[in-house]
């Protein structure tokens, strides 16, 4: 896959048109992961991909990221088709994906070295982002010495330091305990308030989607389709949304949309006869 380079110039829009994705596991028949996905992620918006396990939401994210080839349909970023991974679409993984042999600082510097930035600029950026995620003093620590929350903050800093126009996040707080998760959600929103980006955020947590997103794309069980796109009422940012009067009702409504799909996904997972 070739490199995709783009001049960082503010958030970009992503257009997904008629994307279908099938994969063939090592043993067995081909599985259709996504079916005719079409959606548009607007510049600067925070879009959550919400759905049950196995619905293909991560697959869609990886297609946007250029890690999987688009075989049917098209995905374009600011009009240009996606042909491979690149620093314009920064990705953050659920299990951090930190390079264990590099220190915190070296992890963050890596993407900057790839972009061939001048030494002074690289170091300055690394400093800034380490500070931004509140990890000053841990520059020379190795990932094995950090807690889960700290590792995720390094992962976030590493991706943000590349100044991508788009942020692709694959259940980034899923591996953290509930308290750390809440804190990280706040931190992410604070960072985005300062440097707006287009964000595609995969989650299976209804409440998390409502706390973070502008719009939520609800996906069906496999093969994943866009069941409905929900506009989130204007309720302020982050945890203050929880205090909004309509919050509970929205959670209820959203969960209603997801619940059937979740049940359906569970049924296919266990692949036994349906209970009477």
């Amino acid at each position: 896959m070739s490199k995709q380079t783009v001049a960082p110039s503010g958030p970009a829009e992503i257009v997904v048109d008629g994307v279908t994705h099938t994969y063939t596991p090592a043993r067995g028949r081909p599985v259709k992961a996504l079916e005719s996905i079409s959606l548009k992620v607007q510049q600067g918006e925070f879009l959550a991909l919400l759905g049950p396990s196995g619905c293909g939401k991560s697959t869609l994210l990886y297609l946007m990221g250029g890690f999987l080839p688009v075989e049917q349909g098209t995905i374009t970023v600011d009009g240009r088709p996606v042909v491979g991974p690149g620093p314009d679409r920064g990705i953050v993984f659920q299990h951090f994906a930190l390079y264990p042999w590099k220190t915190v600082r070296q992890n963050i510097l890596y993407g900057l070295e790839k972009q061939r930035l001048a030494r002074a600029e690289r170091e300055a950026r690394a400093d800034r982002f380490i500070r931004m995620v509140h990890l000053s003093g841990f520059d020379d620590s190795y990932p094995s010495q950090l807690s889960g929350g700290m590792k995720q903050r390094v992962a976030l800093a590493r991706t943000l330091a590349m100044d991508p126009a788009i942020l692709l996040m694959d259940e980034p707080f899923g591996a953290l305990d509930a308290q750390t998760r809440s804190l990280m959600q706040e931190e992410l929103l604070a960072i985005l308030a300062n440097t707006p980006k287009t964000v595609v955020f995969v989650t299976h947590d209804v409440q998390e989607a409502l706390l973070m997103a502008d719009r939520i794309a609800v996906m069906s069980a496999r093969p994943g389709r866009i069941k409905q796109i929900v506009e989130v009422d204007d309720m302020g940012r982050g945890s203050e949304r929880m205090r909004a009067p309509t919050f509970a009702a929205q959670v209820e409504r959203l969960w209603g949309l997801v619940r059937d799909e979740a049940l359906r996904a569970q049924g296919t997972e266990m692949s036994g006869p349906a209970e009477p």
Binding site: P87, R89, A97, Y99, P100, K114, S144, T159, M162
Partner: protein, 246 residues
Amino acid sequence: MGVINRYFPLVLLVGAWEAASRTGLVDPSVLPSFSSVAIALWHMLIDPDLYHNAAASMVRLIGGLGLAVPVGVALGIGMARSNAVRTIINPLVQAIYPMPKSALIPVMIMWLGLGQAAKIALIFLGCLLPIVLSAYNAARGVDLVLIWSAQNAGASRGELLREIILPAAMPEILAGIRTALALSFVLLVSAEFLMARDGLGYMIAFLGEGGVYNSMFAAVIIVTALGFFADRLYLAFMRRVLVWRE
């Protein structure tokens, strides 16, 4: 001081050995007393002859292993990253894998005679396979998300190989090299029994044939100690390189 406690049973063993010899429990022509072996050992250590032989042995070992490591790692990673390489090399690896490498000794004698090249070639070929296999498994097992993160950052194919795959595979590769190190000692000694006119293995065989048993036992002790300390040194080196592990 934990070291003394750890190795104390060896002292007991030596004590039992000496006691058995002194009380006539063992025939001294079959098992010389530890004291006579110790004296022979001392004489050996102050004799430059030992160091000539040791040097000859080490040249072979380091030559063979030193070649096997880069070639093996390159082949193993190449197999993991390139389907073409794997299709070509894999059947050959599968065919050679179950063959005991010591069976190559007669071939080496025929092809390369009794010179240095023969022994280095033997050690090289013998150690190649474990290194190829561990490099292959290690490179295959690199976490996909690490590769994707690097690609996300814009790494080229070459950069991916050098900066991500190689470091990520390093723990397992170093473990494979540790195995190869032990194997290289075995091949070295075997080769020196059969196709050498100097070296530590040759020394042991020569002393045995000459009936100088206390020196023979001393030489065996020296070789055993060498293998042990080489391994310890390598472990320390490994720990240094892999300092990022918990």
